[in-house]
């Protein structure tokens, strides 16, 4: 399939070709091009030289057709025709899709025109060097689509009309349309129809037109080197925007100001360009004046960046500071270029390292330097000065500087970033490595505050701060310990940091911090500090516990019993991180068991009654996660936790709390004893009220709880009486998969009540359920199919209703091709209901339900077996289906179902066998598979339906045997 004849490679199939192209990785495009160049006529290569296409026309298909007509080698040629047609289709597709893209680029858009006009307007302003006198729109009104032409001209693709007065010629009346730019007959007012007519050639854009119409313009624009004229329009737009931003946004500002802003702008530009990779930036006019030729080369130079960053930046800042005093105009060009260059480079380097090393982040925000596009605040300089003292001071000066730095509003992003930008973070983190306890404490107090900022967190992690802080956890000084733990808690908000903490043994140390006496009445000062240490330890563990491996590490370090002990604490500020950690970890089974075994449910329930919403939320959330387990659900009830949960439902404004509470109620409702309790507390009434105007995470849980509650008949009536059916049915139109699973379940449960069914029917709920069978998610499919069963059972004229769904029966029969057991079982159940209606049974038979069901019979899944047997029993009632099932080999596997341990399978199977036994051949198969003995056992069952079906089946077999004997022996 592959021939290597250097320097070229030949392949014999497309799959090989695609592999080779993949191997080429970044040279893919080149490779493909080379391949296409070498194979001018692939069709000829594949089908033989007789089909080679002549340049300019493609008649190979025609020739092929002729050959087919002639009839020799008919088969082979037919395949060739198909292949060539396919290839051509692909070709056309490729062409049309690339054409679409190309045409988008070529055609002018209102935005592009607008930018051009703004650019040109900016050229009108200056006196001596001006290239145009004026640029004006004929209409000030701009439509929402960006056009300024009257709507009846917009249909011709015209965007706007301009009157441009060049310096040397008559005013030009110009039409800008999507096809290009051209002169018109001079539109001044609407109504003069002939004025719209084109009077010149069509130009690509405004600049090109002006260059050809106005020699002065052409000359001057070249002289000034605006760096715009040679670009394709799309790129130009981008650069024009930038100039605009500066000119429109700050028209009154002085030159000095613009210069100051340049490096901000450089950053902004850089950030914008980041995803695009190494796109070359076009310097604008203003930047050229500053001597800023290409400021971003440094961004690539990653190696030198790290150590150089702080010095360079500090240096640059100092220069800028000086500049504030010195008059700007006296600044030598070289220095100013140097100055603006450096911060740009630094920002770039930072951005670069962030984007390259962080592909894995969860909750992180992108770099946001661009926000502070204004002057650097005074804090910036003060902080810079303090950092200088930190660097060059002894312990005393350092402590003073640290204390003074704490007086800044460290919660403010300006200050946070200022500390980072002047190289303060490095110094602060270096201080942690010294022996001076006071310096360490002072440094941590600052780091603790500024690490609330996500960019600072990353920077701390990048500078190796976490490792040092983990080491500090071993310190005997308690102040140091708790400060370090609290800072870790802030920094470990992203995955890489959490991993670092774990890898450096931080989890074990943090768990050790938890060891304290939490709840003795009178604490000594030392004990109080121990409690604070433990609290911060819990905070850090809470942050860390968002990573699965850290959960494991906490457990292995013996954290669970310590957390259980702290859970007895009377202090909310201790309980919040502890319960927070627990609920985070409760996603792991080991923790759920531990929470149950260590008796933490009681404490969690107790804290549901506190008056702190956050704590309540975490408790409810922990119960939510743990209550999948039956014993836990029972414990919640026994600890009287259900009532507080219902009470919390009244906190409908706090959506997080509401989501956690409703989640806990949902999971607790899986136990019927709990449902009974909720009934007493009138929980369902409240839940129905929460069906509207809630976020999805609340709705999922509310509906889930209603679905569980509706398993009890009394509750089904309650839901109806509270008007819950309608909102439930309305939710069937949603898109959230988890919600749909729950809604279908709830609607299905409600549909078991006749009165409810009437309402569902009226709201067309069955149709909605049915359409959910088309949902790609198998859970939704299954849940919808389950819900359909009671609907068909309880709806009036259900047969007619089902038939009214166009394509509905075919849809559900086709779901039998699913690979998901739950879907199959649910669809079988639904088919069993559908088949009760003879006409529908005929339709699904036509759709091939019999062989499909027969194909499934070899399953060992008892749930599927049961519903499959039901469906088969029902489907036997039509035409020759019985015979067909026998022929499809469904009988023998069914006999084996009788050996299943599940008695519900027996009943359905016996019924199916009874139906099948009405065909003599099936009787023979059954008998051969030893059905009689099994059925005889079933006949002694207490289940009457089973008894009867088993007996009926045996009777049929017996009758056949008798008839046989009779025939034989007369």
């Amino acid at each position: 399939m592959l021939q290597l004849t250097p320097p070229s490679i030949s392949v014999h199939s497309f799959s090989q070709l695609s592999k080779i192209v993949q191997l080429a990785t970044d040279k893919k495009l080149k490779e493909v091009r080379a391949c296409l160049e070498a194979n001018r006529d692939p069709v000829a290569k594949m089908l033989g030289p007789s089909f080679a296409t002549v340049e300019g026309e493609d008649s190979s298909v025609l020739r092929l057709l002729e050959e087919v007509k002639e009839g020799d080698q008919a088969k082979e040629t037919e395949i060739k025709v198909k292949l060539i047609i396919l290839l051509q289709q692909l070709d056309t597709q490729l062409l049309s899709s690339s054409l679409k893209q190309i045409s988008q680029e070529v055609r002018l858009s209102p935005a592009a025109v607008k930018n051009d006009v703004e650019l040109l307007k900016s050229f009108c302003s200056e006196g001596e060097t001006r290239v145009l006198t004026s640029v004006q729109y004929t209409s000030d009104y701009e439509f929402t689509n960006g056009c300024r032409t009257p709507p009846w001209r917009q249909v011709h693709g015209e965007i706007c009309y301009l009157v441009i007065k060049p310096c040397d010629t008559q005013p030009l009346h110009i039409t800008c349309s999507t096809a290009g730019v051209f002169l018109n007959g001079g539109i001044r007012q609407e109504g003069e129809e002939n004025a719209y007519d084109r009077t010149s050639d069509v130009y690509r854009d405004l600049v090109t037109l002006l260059k050809s119409k106005s020699p002065h313009f052409a000359e001057n624009i070249n002289k000034q080197d605006f760096a715009v004229q040679e670009e394709p329009p799309t790129q130009k737009v981008q650069h024009v925007e930038l100039v605009d931003a500066e000119e429109q946004g700050q028209p009154q500002r002085s030159y000095e100001h613009q210069e100051k802003n340049v490096h901000e702008k450089a950053r902004q530009q850089l950030v914008q360009n980041k995803p695009g990779g190494k796109k070359k930036l076009e310097p604008s006019l203003k930047w050229k004046n500053l001597g800023l030729a290409s400021p971003y080369d440094e961004a690539d130079d990653k190696k030198s960046k790290k150590n150089a960053v702080s010095e360079k930046f500090a240096e640059a800042q100092e220069k800028m500071q000086k500049k504030a005093d010195v008059s700007v105009s006296s600044l030598p060009g070289r220095q100013s270029s140097n100055k603006t260059k450096t911060p740009g480079g630094v920002g770039g380097a930072d951005d670069f390292s962030e984007s390259s090393s962080e592909s894995e982040e969860d909750e992180e925000q992108p770099e946001r330097r661009t926000e502070s596009n204004t002057d650097l605040p005074s804090e910036y300089w003060q902080i810079q000065k303090l950092v200088k003292y930190l660097k060059g001071g002894n312990q005393t000066a350092t402590v003073i500087a640290l204390c003074s730095m704490r007086d800044f509003n460290l919660a403010q992003e300006t200050c946070q970033l200022a500390i980072r930008d002047v190289g303060g973070l490095e110094v602060l983190i270096n201080l942690l490595d010294t022996e001076e306890i006071k310096c360490k404490i002072g440094s941590l107090k600052i780091l603790k505050e500024i690490s609330r900022n996500s960019q600072i967190r990353r920077a701390i992690a990048d500078l190796g701060g976490l490792q040092t802080m983990v080491k500090i956890l071993d310190s005997p000084d308690k102040d140091l310990k708790y400060l370090a733990a609290e800072t870790i808690a802030n920094v470990a908000k992203f995955r890489r940091a959490r991993r670092t903490v774990r890898q450096h043994g931080g989890i074990k140390r943090l768990v050790e911090l938890l060891d304290c006496v939490p709840d003795s009445a009178a604490l000594t000062e030392e004990q109080e500090k121990d409690v604070e240490v433990a609290r911060c330890g819990a905070l850090a563990l809470w942050s860390c516990s968002k990573s699965t491996r850290n959960k494991e590490a906490i457990r292995k370090a013996g954290g669970i019993p310590l957390l259980a002990r702290l859970l007895k604490s009377p202090h909310e500020n201790m309980l919040i991180p502890v319960v927070g950690t627990l609920q985070e970890c409760a996603s792991e089974r080991s923790y759920r068991i531990a929470i149950q075994m260590e008796g933490m449910i009681e404490d969690l329930v107790k804290n549901l009654n506190c008056d702190n919403h956050e704590l309540q939320m975490h408790c409810a959330s922990a119960i939510f996660k743990c209550a999948e387990d039956k014993r836990t659900r029972d414990l919640v009830r026994q600890c009287e936790g259900l009532q507080p949960l219902v009470t919390l439902l009244s906190q409908a404004d706090n959506k997080q709390l509401l989501a956690a509470t409703t989640g806990a109620i949902w999971k607790c409702s899986i136990s019927m004893e709990n449902v009974a309790k909720f009934q007493d507390y009138k929980a369902l009434e409240t839940l129905v009220g929460l069906l509207t105007d809630q976020p999805e995470e609340v709705l999922v849980n509310v509906v889930g709880a209603l679905g569980e509650g509706a398993q009890k008949p009394a509750n089904r009536a309650t839901i109806r009486k509270c008007g819950g059916i309608q909102p439930l049915v309305n939710l069937l139109t949603g898109t959230n998969q988890a919600l749909l699973v729950n809604v279908t379940k709830a609607v299905g449960a409600c549909a078991t009540e006749l009165e409810n069914m009437t309402i569902i029917d009226r709201l067309d709920g069955v149709r909605l359920l049915w359409s959910l069978l088309k949902n790609p998610n198998p859970d939704v499919q299954a849940s919808a199919a389950w819900a359909i069963c009671p609907c068909i059972e309880n709806a009036k004229d259900s047969g007619e209703m089902v038939r009214s769904f166009v394509g509905g029966l075919e849809l559900i029969v086709n779901l039998l091709k699913s690979t998901n057991k739950e879907v199959l079982a649910s669809v079988c159940a639904a088919i069993a209901k559908i088949a009760k209606d003879e006409e529908n049974l005929a339709v699904i038979t036509d759709h091939g339900v019999v062989p499909m069901l027969a194909k499934l019979t070899n399953t060992t899944d008892d749930k599927l077996r049961r519903h499959l047997a039901e469906a088969i029993a029902r489907c036997c009632m039509w035409g020759s289906n019985r015979v067909l099932f026998g022929e499809a080999g469904a009988v023998a596997p069914l006999v084996r179902y009788l050996k299943s341990k599940d008695t519900s399978v027996h009943q359905a199977t016996a019924q199916a066998l009874f139906q099948l036994s009405k065909d003599p051949n099936n009787c023979i198969t059954m008998h051969d598979n030893g059905v009689v003995k099994l059925l005889l056992g079933m006949m002694g069952s207490t289940d009457e339906v089973l008894q009867e079906a088993a007996a009926g089946c045996v009777a049929n077999i017996r009758r056949l045997a008798l008839a046989n004997e009779k025939a034989r022996y007369g």
């Binding site: 303090l386 200088k388 003292y389 001071g393 002894n394 005393t396 402590v399 500087a401 002072g442």
Partner: protein
């Protein structure tokens, strides 16, 4: 000699008993150990004025070698703070009283002690000039700077801004106390005049255990 030493021991015990009642943080045994240590230190000293106690040089040696202090001026001030009667010698009583705060003082005691150390002229205020004097060596001087004292001056201003609550350009005891209570780190704002935890531990081990064993 034996008689002498027996008498001496008796004396020491009596003295220790008295002093441990006067001083807050030492029990009798500890006081006794410290007296022995004091006597031991005196023994090395030139014999002329043994009765008066430790002189400045001797005391500064202890501060430097045992407690790792380096700043001459601060060490002088610590000596002053110990030497309550201003006779240029630290007597045994002053020794024990001083160490009580030095090693085990409460925050209140330490605030008072530090303020005394920093109030160079003893007028009850830490003035700008005094601050400048104490901080003048706290920054590395950059040879490039035009005014090498600029940084120090600035540091003084920062400190005043932070601690001078009544805005009279000097720190009264009340200013100092409030600032330190708000931020404990400012206790030794103008130079290290208290030992760190590690040297305290070492000193106490040396004084209370080793002395007992001998």
């Amino acid at each position: 000699m034996a008689e002498m030493s027996a008498m001496n021991r008796k004396l020491i015990q009596n003295l220790a008993e008295t002093l441990s009642k006067q001083v807050k943080h030492f029990n009798k045994t500890e006081a006794e150990c410290l007296i022995r240590l004091f006597n031991g230190l005196l023994g090395d000293q030139s014999d002329r004025r043994v009765g008066n106690g430790l002189d400045r040089g001797k005391f500064r040696n202890i501060l430097h070698n045992t407690f790792g202090m380096t700043d001459d001026m601060i060490m002088d001030r610590v000596f002053r703070a110990f030497d309550k009667d201003n006779d240029s010698y630290v007597s045994v009583k002053e020794w024990i009283e001083g160490l009580s705060i030095f090693l085990r003082g409460t925050l209140d005691e330490k605030i008072k002690y530090c303020f005394d150390v920093y109030d160079l002229n003893g007028d009850g205020y830490i003035s700008r000039e005094e601050m400048f004097h104490m901080l003048k060596n706290s920054l590395i001087r950059q040879p490039t700077e035009e005014d090498p004292d600029e940084g120090i001056k600035d540091l003084v201003e920062i400190t005043l801004k932070k601690m001078d609550h009544d805005h009279d350009s000097r720190l009264s005891y009340a200013d100092f106390e409030k600032a330190v209570r708000d931020e404990n780190l400012l206790l030794e704002a103008f130079g290290t005049c208290l030992p760190d935890a590690k040297s305290i531990l070492e000193f106490e081990q040396h004084a209370f255990q080793d002395t007992l064993e001998h």
